[in-house]
Symmetry: C2
Subunit: 309 residues, 2 copies
């Protein structure tokens, strides 16, 4: 396959820290352009906007949209209408409805649309899925707790509608759970803790169930102060207890370390994107985002103390 | 086609007022059984639960689930696993996730699953869709206002998570809008008025846009006191202004009455269900419910006065 000429749109922290190094490290890609209002990259063609890039820039085959979810849909539609393949950072849009229209647009344009979930490419997600596929699952406990002041400093948008609050990291847990568990599941109860001065929850307690009535419990909390973050999924089976730790980069069975790997989530994302382009396929799985929408629709909101950073 | 032997599950107000008369009036059906904890129907086999009906009752071909959304998914799954066709009252489930699993179950079981939206069968919905299909739409205004005390007396569940508040009637408007407009649309802004003692909004102001940037505005309000309800959709086009009134039963163009019909929404539902069964098809369109989830996820919640009935 020819080298994929790629543009990054929205060169913020996630593009600089994750996308750019992953692209540079993968010989399938060449970073041909960047469209960003606030940042340029030395040696790479720079444009203020995606519109300008498409009009005046070098030819690109694909774009990685690292802009906020609220503007991504319009950019994805524009890029696809120009025949470009599109990778969307997570979540794939601001609304579930717009993602459906994007899916139809991609099919019509004949391009690849990839709604990416970086946590699914954590080192132990695939091994965990394989290990679970031959065992009878009895219950699942998801624990995703971090100190919001440490991990999201200054991100005031997280407390606004659409910012999702604790579901911003929590959706990573849900993207792993939907990838490793063998059956789909759905929410039956959600209790949300919402600071009086915020629109989105600072903590959430969720109960799901799958088609065989297996209980799946999740605790998301932004108030994990003074201790390291906990990003864990525990699965009890008829043949031992699986634990994914450190966001999916470590895997234990009955407490014993089985797998451990470096952080290569974005390397995995770009490998998958190239594969999808090569096979002419799209991958638009909204299930993690749909669970968040269900939780915010069905959750009981308990007012808690105001949040001040 | 043979007569469809039907069971109603959940014989409450909507079953008594709407489903039962529509079934009796349609020669394609025979009401063979009712499963309901609180009500029996003279001359029809009665069971406390769907489980008992399936085990001990007369053979039925299909079930109409008129139970609350929270229990409907499990019942639908059970009925489909017994090879029964299923009609779901609106909304088709408590969560978006569970509806996806139902869709897969229906395909696997080879039965018809029909997620019904009764307002789509209002007399003027089909004429409005035809009229709009040849015109250029410039803007859409949806106005859905009623007095909650008059139209939902004693329905305390409407203020609990999952009750949807003003979206309980508002979803009817969205089911019509998604049926008559030629392109999908998505939410860009939602402002929700939530009483201090309630979990769900008493009023909502919504802005959507479609793929051609046509603005679609909706005003839902439960505080329409002392005047008749307003259930209207106005569509400005390059060739006149279409108005659907009275929940879709009257249609005007530039103010002039064009169509008017009796309330036969449930007759239309059962006609469609029989047609789907005859053709071996399912119809599970979640788009109205997805818009509600998007609005409750993205909406800015403004606290307003407590609600007392």
């Amino acid at each position: 396959m020819d080298t994929i000429r790629l543009a990054i749109v929205g060169y913020g922290k996630i593009a600089r820290d994750q996308h750019h190094p992953a692209i540079d490290a993968n010989p399938a890609y060449r970073l041909s352009a960047v469209a960003s209002r606030n940042a340029a990259v030395p040696g790479v063609a720079h444009f203020e906007t995606l519109e300008a890039l498409l009009k005046e820039g070098p030819t690109v085959d694909a774009v990685a949209l690292c802009t906020p979810a609220g503007v991504r849909t319009a950019q994805a539609r524009l890029a696809m209408s120009h025949g470009k393949h599109v990778m969307l950072e997570k979540p794939p849009g601001a609304t579930l409805a717009e993602i459906e229209t994007l899916r139809e647009d991609a099919a019509r344009s004949g391009v690849t649309l990839f709604a990416s979930w970086h946590s699914r490419h954590a080192h132990c997600v695939a091994p965990a899925r394989r290990w679970l596929s031959t065992r009878k699952i009895q219950r699942v406990d998801i624990v995703w707790k971090e100190d919001v002041r440490e991990w999201h400093p200054g991100q005031a948008w997280i407390w606004q509608p659409g910012g999702m609050g604790v579901f911003d990291p929590g959706i990573n847990a849900l993207s792993i759970a939907t990838a490793i568990l063998p059956r789909p599941f759905h929410l039956i109860d959600a209790q949300l803790q919402v600071p009086g001065n915020c629109q989105t929850p600072i903590a959430a307690s969720l109960d799901f169930v799958d088609g065989l009535k297996v209980p799946i419990h999740a605790e998301f909390d932004f108030r994990q102060v003074g201790t390291p973050p906990i990003w864990e999924i525990h699965v009890e089976t008829d043949d031992g207890r699986l634990t994914l730790e450190a966001g999916g980069s470590r895997m234990r069975v009955d407490g014993e370390l089985r797998e451990e790997g470096p952080d290569a989530e974005y390397a995995g994302l770009y490998e998958r994107f190239a594969g999808l382009i090569g096979r002419g396929q799209s991958d638009v799985d909204v299930s993690p985002f749909r669970h968040v929408a269900d939780a915010l629709m069905l959750g009981y909101r308990h007012p808690v103390d105001d949040f001040t950073e």
